[in-house]
């Protein structure tokens, strides 16, 4: 009996160890090591901080970095502000009959590839696009306007792509909020405002935190949406990483950038968990 148990344990353990060490741990250690290597004046690889110095010395790099971080926070906040009423409507306002169907409709677009969704926005918004065509037809616009390739379009695109990851945790947390709590608050003289800020939002905090973490992480690491909707002006940090790896073929510099992005995302996620007193294992459930 004992013997079988041990065998089973190692059969389960081995593939998991191989997965986590060969594909997660060692590659990231390699990333860290590579980021501290650089070519000196004689073209020899040596150890040092040159890649990080380059990052802080060149404003275009760290400004892009800061910009990406701030815009990711803005996107996270917008998905929350747009998503909360939708989740609230589905769980609390609409009659129970339609709840399942509406949830399904909210989820459906996100099964479709991100590329297809971004492409949809491109044919809607570009200069020869559908929105321009309709505005010209109705006479609201005299000549076509390029609506792609600006920050507003890019942020909208990012909100669109990550919306689901905010709405799903919000729906599941609001589902468990008892209607009686809200009724009691009104009986005790609360109004819509105080109910929202003192009942609904505090109650939904676990959902808000897990949604925010996923949205922030996905936005920060997004390449497709800034690149296609934001165009050349998008200045997204993942594009700097891509350029170092694929265009300049400077892997050491690219690793330093990658590691900085990893630190930023871990730091913000850690802060989010600390402030809301949650832990990662609970949040992903």
């Amino acid at each position: 009996m004992k013997k079988y148990r041990n065998w089973g344990f190692f059969i389960f353990l081995l593939p998991v160890l191989l997965w986590l060490f060969l594909l997660i741990v060692l590659p990231h250690i390699d990333l860290l090591i590579m980021s501290f290597r650089f070519e000196d004046d004689y073209g020899e690889l040596t150890w040092g901080m040159a890649n990080y110095k380059e990052f802080f010395g060149e404003p275009i790099y760290w400004l892009t970095f800061v910009r990406t971080a701030i815009y990711s926070l803005v996107v996270t906040f917008l998905t929350f502000v747009i998503g909360l009423p939708v989740a609230f409507f589905i769980t609390k306002v609409v009659s129970v009959k339609y709840k399942g169907a509406l949830t399904l409709l909210v989820l459906l677009p996100f099964w479709v590839s991100e590329l297809v969704r971004v492409y949809g926005w491109m044919i809607l918004l570009r200069e020869s696009g559908v929105v321009n065509h309709l505005l010209l037809k109705t006479g609201l616009l005299a000549k076509p306007v390029e609506m792609l390739y600006n920050d507003a379009a890019m942020i909208m695109g990012l909100v669109y792509t990550t919306m689901l990851f905010m709405i799903v945790p919000l729906i599941s947390v609001l589902d468990s909020l008892e209607d009686e709590l809200i009724e009691a608050a009104f009986d005790l003289g609360g109004n819509a405002r105080s109910v929202l800020f003192r009942i609904i939002i505090p109650y939904a905090t676990p959902g808000i935190v897990s949604g925010s973490i996923v949205v922030f992480m996905l936005t920060l690491g997004n390449y497709l949406t800034p690149n296609l909707i934001g165009g050349k002006n998008s200045l997204w940090f993942t594009e700097q990483i891509y350029n170092q790896f694929i265009a300049s073929f400077n892997w050491n510099q690219g690793s330093a950038f990658g590691f900085l992005l990893l630190i930023l995302s871990s730091l913000i996620i850690w802060l989010g968990l600390k402030v809301s007193k949650q832990n990662l294992a609970k949040v992903v459930q």
């Binding site: 079988y4 148990r5 089973g8 344990f9 389960f12 593939p15 998991v16 997965w19 594909l23 997660i24 590659p27 990231h28 990333l31 590579m34 009423p85 939708v86 409507f89 609390k92 306002v93 609409v94 009659s95 677009p109 099964w111 479709v112 590839s113 991100e114 590329l115 297809v116 492409y119 949809g120 044919i123 559908v130 309709l134 669109y160 209607d179 809200i182 009724e183 009104f186 109910v195 973490i213 992480m217 690491g221 390449y223 497709l224 296609l228 993942t238 990483i241 790896f245 694929i246 892997w251 690219g254 690793s255 990658g258 992005l261 990893l262 995302s265 990662l280 294992a281 992903v284 459930q285």
Partner: protein, 286 residues
């Protein structure tokens, strides 16, 4: 404010309007993409020039429909193969991980569990570059030390499979673990008392119980792999997957053939999503 309380007319109308606008926002890009796949025009834009199926079926030099577009058909086939292998490997390793974390106790279990969750918070781009570099370092090592050329370690099909597997496996682990938590251990004990060994128990009893979760996570794994862009971008070789191939075409301007591919993708993923939801709701009723 909620359905059990009286609501003012403005409140409920305003709220409905907001939800309506939200759904327009959600579906407009997808609908327009589908509609323009059937427009008889050289460009994916209005005005409407009449209904045509040519962007699916045509084989003329100026208008190649998707069914004759070899480069896109090839990349669809590459994506299907990639997704197939990613799902299989993720299912095997993810199920092992679920058993490991739910049924075994060992030193460093917490640390290993934390590592298993890590791919959820590592941006896909970083996962891509670190796996690319590690494969490259290993490749150089093998070549220098043993004079061995390992094609597996160069960007290409199998590296894409490994890269996607590295984070999709976490999702499979979480889904299968959630189901395994609900497993009634007395069933296992009964089977063991009746003379079965541990593997017979797992094979005949536990895996049977896990089947809905395994099938559901297989569908999700397949889709996640099929659609993955960020990680694949750095690991892809000469055999491009569909998202990468579409991206390359989009950068150089677009033709309605992209709409027809999108239409097929939207229809097939919706069907897959609906089937998956149908079975998971049935599973909850059980």
């Amino acid at each position: 404010m909620i359905r059990s309380l009286p609501q003012s007319k403005t409140y409920s109308r305003g709220f409905r309007l907001y939800i309506l606008l939200y759904f327009v926002f959600l579906f407009a890009p997808l609908l327009i993409t589908c509609i323009l796949a059937f427009n008889d025009s050289q460009f994916p834009s209005l005005p409407w020039k009449g209904f045509t199926l040519e962007w699916f079926t045509s084989d003329r030099p100026d208008r190649v429909g998707i069914f004759h577009d070899q480069s896109n058909l090839d990349s669809i086939w590459v994506s299907i193969q990639t997704a197939f292998f990613v799902s299989i490997i993720s299912l095997v390793v993810g199920t092992c991980a679920a058993f490991l974390f739910e049924q075994e106790n060992f030193k460093f279990k917490q640390l290993l569990y934390f590592l298993m969750l890590a791919p959820l918070v590592i941006p896909g781009v970083i996962l891509g570059i670190s796996i690319l570099m590690f494969a490259n370092s290993l490749g150089t090592l093998f070549e220098m030390q043993m004079d061995l050329d390992v094609p597996l370690l160069r960007p290409g099909f199998w590296l894409v499979v490994l890269g996607q597997f590295s984070f999709i496996c976490t999702f499979v682990t979480l889904v299968v673990s959630a189901r395994l938590k609900k497993f009634d251990h007395t069933l296992e004990e009964a089977a063991l008392n009746l003379g079965a060994n541990r593997f017979e128990v797992i094979w005949h009893i536990t895996l049977k119980f896990l089947r809905p979760a395994i099938l559901g996570s297989a569908a999700v794994a397949f889709l996640m792999s099929f659609e993955n862009f960020n990680t694949t971008l750095f690991l892809v070789g000469s055999e491009t997957t569909l998202p990468i191939n579409l991206y390359l075409q989009l950068r150089d301007g677009s033709t309605p053939v992209i709409n027809s591919i999108s239409f097929l993708l939207i229809v097939s993923t919706s069907l897959l999503a609906l089937t998956n939801l149908y079975f998971s709701s049935k599973q909850q009723e059980d």
